[in-house]
């Protein structure tokens, strides 16, 4: 093979290698979760959501270029008290029938620091809750686990990307009982995301 043929082939190979991978966050193990906490006088309201999906484009060679969208099914939000859950899903609070999804679409990363397979950054994107979209900057931790998919899901080969994020939102920014029940339920909501996405290799 002539050198003139090898150079374009090498360039193509490098380009394919450096291409961002698509990680699917529809977890086959169903353990992806988001946890939320609201302070209240008797005891804090702690709940979780499991209906997580979405995709993230991540390039291990260039984590700063990460983009993607994570979707949480509003219906999957749950709290241990059945009456509180009914109120949470109802028209006066999240109105899950009208607004079935809570989303965060990451558009850019800043302050990116990578050590080994762990990248920390501030992700800026659009957070949509209760039909209201706001620009948010959220600290995230990305852990890239090369060839670890088979250890988690047998019969599947590929890589894993774990995303962890902890941040606070104000329910009033999203028109959820604005100015109401502040003495009973805190206007701030602590959110904690812990999710793993898979990039399957064929």
């Amino acid at each position: 093979m002539k050198l003139t043929h090898i150079i374009p082939l090498l360039t193509l190979t490098t380009a394919v290698y450096a291409a961002p991978q698509t990680f699917d966050f529809k977890d086959p193990k169903g353990v992806n979760n988001a946890v939320f906490k609201l302070d209240a006088p008797l005891e804090s309201i702690n709940g979780s959501a499991s209906g997580i999906s979405g995709t993230v484009l991540f390039d291990p060679e260039n984590p700063a270029a990460t983009t993607g969208k994570i979707i949480v099914a509003s219906e999957s939000l749950t709290v241990p008290n059945p009456m509180q859950k009914e109120h949470l899903h109802g028209a006066n609070w999240l109105d899950v029938a009208k607004y079935p999804e809570i989303t965060f679409e990451a558009k850019s990363l800043a302050n990116v620091k990578t050590e080994g397979n762990v990248t920390t950054a501030d992700a800026t994107g659009t957070f949509t809750l209760h039909g209201v979209s706001k620009e948010l900057t959220v600290p995230v931790k990305l852990t890239y686990l090369k060839d670890k998919l088979s250890a988690r899901v047998p019969n599947l080969k590929g890589d894993l990307l774990v995303i962890r994020a902890n941040f606070v939102i104000n329910r009033e920014d999203f028109n959820i009982q604005k100015g109401q029940y502040e003495d009973k339920v805190s206007p701030t909501i602590d959110l904690s995301l812990s999710i793993a996405g898979a990039s399957v290799t064929k």
Binding site: V31, S50, L145, A151, V162
Partner: protein, 100 residues
């Protein structure tokens, strides 16, 4: 049954109902306190499920496990005491029979 009821004086019947209502109220209070203590004496709201956490070995990610479990809270006690108070209150409408 009708014959039996005819034999019982109406004031005696009222007294019996009064006693039944008071005993029911007492049973509800005792049952509620017993249930509350048996399920952990929670001073929070009633729960029908509990979550525990573990760490997934591959990803070292937090994993939540949800288990159906009834934990009586202060709202459960409040509802039981309220119901018992209604029954006890209703029993006051039934007087003791007068001595002949």
């Amino acid at each position: 049954m009708a014959a039996l009821l005819r034999e019982i004086d109406s004031s005696q019947l009222k007294f019996t109902v009064k006693k039944i209502l008071q005993i029911l109220a007492l049973l509800i209070v005792l049952g509620a306190i017993g249930t509350w203590l048996a399920t952990g004496a929670s001073r929070g709201w009633t729960k029908t499920e509990v979550q525990t956490e573990s760490i997934e070995p591959v990803t070292e990610m937090r994993v939540l496990h949800t288990e159906k479990k009834f934990i009586a809270g202060v709202d459960f006690l409040g509802a039981a005491f309220g119901g018992a108070a209604l029954l006890a209150g209703a029993s006051l409408f039934f007087r003791k029979p007068k001595a002949n």
